[in-house]
Amino acid sequence: MRHRSLLILTTVLTTGALTLTACGSRDDKGGGGDKGDSKTKVVIGVDSPTSGDLSALGLGIRNSADLAAKTANKNNTVPGVEFVTQPLDDQAQPNVGQQNAAKFISDKKVIGVVGPLNSSIAQVMQKPFTDAKLTQVSPANTGTELTQGPNWKAGDKKRPFAAYFRTATTDQVQGAFAAKYLYTTKKIDKVYLMDDQKTYGAGLAASFKEQFTKLGGKIVGEDHVVPEERDFNAIVTKVKNSGAKALYYGGEYPAAGPLSQQLKDAIKIPLMGGDGIYSADFLTLNKKAEGDLATSVGKPVEQLDSAKKFIDDYKAAGYKEDYEAYGGGTYDATWAIIEAVKIAVADNGGKVPADLRPKVLDAMSKVKFDGVTGPVSFDEYGDTTNTMMTAYQVENGKWAAKFSEAYKP
């Protein structure tokens, strides 16, 4: 027996050691990437949930970032630099996002990070990235306090983290746009308000409520759900008896899908949500989605001339998954980092500077280009200057774009 356990122990130790060595040697190979040609390898980290409930959106982000890097290499956008993306899965969990952030920071070849999808994960990443002067551009975070500080509502806007940028507009804009669309275009004046208590959902619901009541609409009831639950019948019964003509839900499609279906089992009113429910998966999880509404950032990529090339390239590249809601925004976010590298290299006389990270961060404020979703540049808070929003409605089992506008609060 003693021999046997010794054998097992040895096996385990050997396997572990081999695994570690294997990891090590792979990293080394990455370091020696600049073999024959003189191109410097520059890594752009990508953080998104590529597994779990939100993986449809996360995989679209991963692929779109990859496409941007490959396009830059093909066009030789920055001479002497080869871009590589390093995707990591954050499983939509802040603690995993934190580990990913540490991994990106410790890898000196990483000069910028695209992502994450969830505002709650951005919150744990902002400080370490800012300390490391590592530029982060999110295509999807809409939480207003991420760029304007915790007291933005009182008018005291202060940028908390200098390394954080985003190509998505804020919840403030999105919720208000949804309220305006529902009240003025759809003529709905009584709404039941619900959220999932997460950074994104609660923020969206709050800004919706503010604008909707300001316009003269009435919130006939409010409730919160646990995002892991799938049985919302008890809440739906309350909605039914509240006299609401629509339900506004701040949250994401894994819960919104069943919620909308159970809502329509009881009463025929639409559910409206933000970009968190604007996904093809919302429709597969919900057999009664017809008539539901959503808002999303930017114009629908399909309608923009600037996006035609993106869509064609995406198809040509043969990715298995769809680019989903954030494909265009991700491409622009990645391209913003590429442009910043270009500026940094140009300022250094065409050579890649040794301390690329702070140089890229400095260059971000100068970035200005025409992207997939429209003109891309960042204001003093790191927010995009593009506030284009679009309202969608489910028609014949598909999301159909209804109305686009550059929203001014």
Binding site: V225, N241, L285
Partner: protein, 309 residues
Amino acid sequence: MHELPQQLANGLILGAMYGLIAIGYTMVYGIVQLINFAHGEIFMVGGFGALTVYLILPAGFSLGAAIPLMILGGMVVSVAVATAAERFAYRPLRGAPRLAPLITAIGLSIVLQQLVWQWYPDAKKDHPFPQLEGEALSLLGADLQPGGIFLLVAAPISMIALGFFVNKTRTGRGMQATAQDPDTAKLMGINTDRIIVTAFAIGAAFAAVAAVGYGLHNGQVSFRMGFLLGLKAFTAAVLGGIGNIYGAMLGGLVLGVAEALATGYIAEIPGMELFGGGSWKDVWAFSLLIIVLLVRPQGLLGERVADRA
């Protein structure tokens, strides 16, 4: 209060599902004093087993005819996983300190989740589950959806069958004997190993029925669905008196109705606006659990057992 019948129906449907899962906790605990925390995942794999049966059936096969096969398929998968878990994860630890099998159960639960996540096609996110067509049935002021009706019918049928099995059959009586005193039962010629496996298998079969109901009712299954529901079902088992099969179902129904009523009405009590609704319903459900356990530490239908903690 005009929505009361509907809220009661919502609660009973939820509770029937909790109760069906709780049977598994209570049977295993009653016989080996093990809290099988992997039982939520047994429930989950049952759902995926049923889904698989549906997906491999030829197109055009009506869902009504497929449901018995799906239940069967779910049961086969659940029972296979549960008996394998008993054989390879729990039996080697029988007689070990009580914490060892408990930790094993938690580990097993994570392993099962990750296996489904990794290997089942398209299971990395919520997977759509077939749903019964048809309008809601209006009954006593409540609208019942087909998926809910399935649970409301399946739960009492299952309970009657289980009651018959435990009280009337030889194996069932052997089970009661083993629960009361395993050593004496062994001396009387009862194969306790077989009894224990049977307890795991029955719990798993009930979990599979619950999983089919969950899928039909909510229109989807996911690799994580067993965690929260397993926890709730365990609570239901404790509430009803762990070790008692009727207690498990009663506990499930009480818990489900408590959640629905808390969601529906707490916020309407003056001064309680902040403490009502979907986010607080679990707080009220667990407060109820604490109160019941203060008054009746053995649970609603549990018997006082002096020598076992």
